[in-house]
Amino acid sequence: MGCAQVRERITVLLAGEAGRRERLEIESHLRRCGRCAEAMSDLASASIALDRAYAPLRATTVALSPARVRLAMRLPQPVPTGVRVSRLTSRLTELALAAAVTAFAFAGSASVAPKPAIVDENAVETFSPTRVSPSFDDENFIRWIRIGRYAASADLVDPAVAPRHADDEAADTPHERAGLAR
């Protein structure tokens, strides 16, 4: 292998794509030819520098969900079979709960604020019977169930801070929620 050939193949060698035989030929040339060895060393140092410079970025990941793609394309979000069943069940439960609670509100005394049937540990503090106004009616109740499952009326719920339903499958990380909301 002559100098011209070797110089041409240095890049291939640096890219890790030289075959074993090719590599041995280049190496034996470099041992004999100081100028080619110097050229090799120059390019190798540049290659190593690039490798190091991009190292932090090579480890970067991005928290994106394919839901963003469907959102951008206005496609429906597919729901896996298992989830579909559980979502249906949760809807039914919600509905039954709404019916039961409304019935209770009608039947019971108007001055007694009903306890929430579902208690969200994070939400217990926010739900306080003392904050329930006397005008607490079934309409608010349905809102209570639908919005946060704990806040007595919509006025008490700041949409920005209202927690999502626990079974919101579409977004399971804060990043994705932010992404979906955008």
Binding site: A15, L43, D51, L57, R58, P66
Partner: protein, 223 residues
């Protein structure tokens, strides 16, 4: 959590890109998701290296996969879908107008913002930062054709043949562009002797490639 379980399953989907494309074409949403999770990070890095804007890079990921979704019917990946996706991502990145009111920083500054620093001593961190500053500034002085070859090889870990597919030119052209880019970078480094890249400092490692790990990590500490 069902969503998380599904994500893990799709990230580790053993099917090839070709199988996933066919499944997605037949309406398998999880197959499309698997492709997304397989390539989102690489495309994000590529878009970020070109635009230097993380928000723009995220949009490039979304737009690339939106195009892939629309093209599902005619996609015929021989093996990997990566060259196709990266080609779309490169075009989107270069055709993108810079957002208004966004001051595009240098790649190295922008990287600092999105990369959490590991456990390094301050001095080596400073040296590394200086090296990155000089090297990435040198890459920025290259024309787009040379720059993209460098980014695809050193950042995304594509081999010469894959790069040729992405930029749609013969492998020989990729080699000569990479060679030219390395020579230019070498000249830049000579102007910074404090970085320790004086001639002869780095002797060639003789085994294997010295560029990149072959596997792109799918999940990082940020998730």
């Amino acid at each position: 959590m069902t969503g998380r379980a599904a994500k893990r399953a799709s990230a580790e989907d053993a099917r090839t890109d070709r199988e996933l494309v066919y499944a997605a074409r037949a309406g398998d949403g999880l197959a499309f998701d698997a492709l997304f999770y397989r390539y989102k990070d690489g495309i994000f890095r590529l878009g970020f290296a070109i635009t230097k804007d993380p928000a723009a890079a995220e949009e490039i990921v979304v737009d690339t996969f939106a195009r892939a979704h629309r093209a599902l019917a005619r996609l015929e990946p021989e093996d990997s879908l990566r060259p196709w996706l990266y080609r779309v991502a490169v075009n989107l990145s270069y055709n993108r107008r810079p957002r208004k009111n966004v001051i595009v920083s240098t790649l190295e500054d922008a990287t600092d913002e999105i990369v959490e620093s590991g456990e390094r001593s301050p001095s080596s961190l400073a040296e590394l930062a200086e090296l990155r500053r000089v090297v990435l500034a040198a890459v920025d002085t290259l024309g787009p054709k040379h720059r993209i070859v460098v980014v695809l090889h050193y950042l995304n870990g594509l081999n010469l043949a894959e790069i040729a597919q992405v930029v749609d030119c013969p492998v020989g052209t990729v080699k000569s562009r990479l060679h030219y880019a390395l020579l230019r970078l070498r000249a830049h480094l000579s102007a910074h002797p404090e970085l320790g890249f004086e001639p002869g400092a780095a002797l060639p490692a003789t085994s294997g490639r010295m560029a990149l790990p072959a596997v792109e990590p799918l999940r990082g500490p940020k998730e």
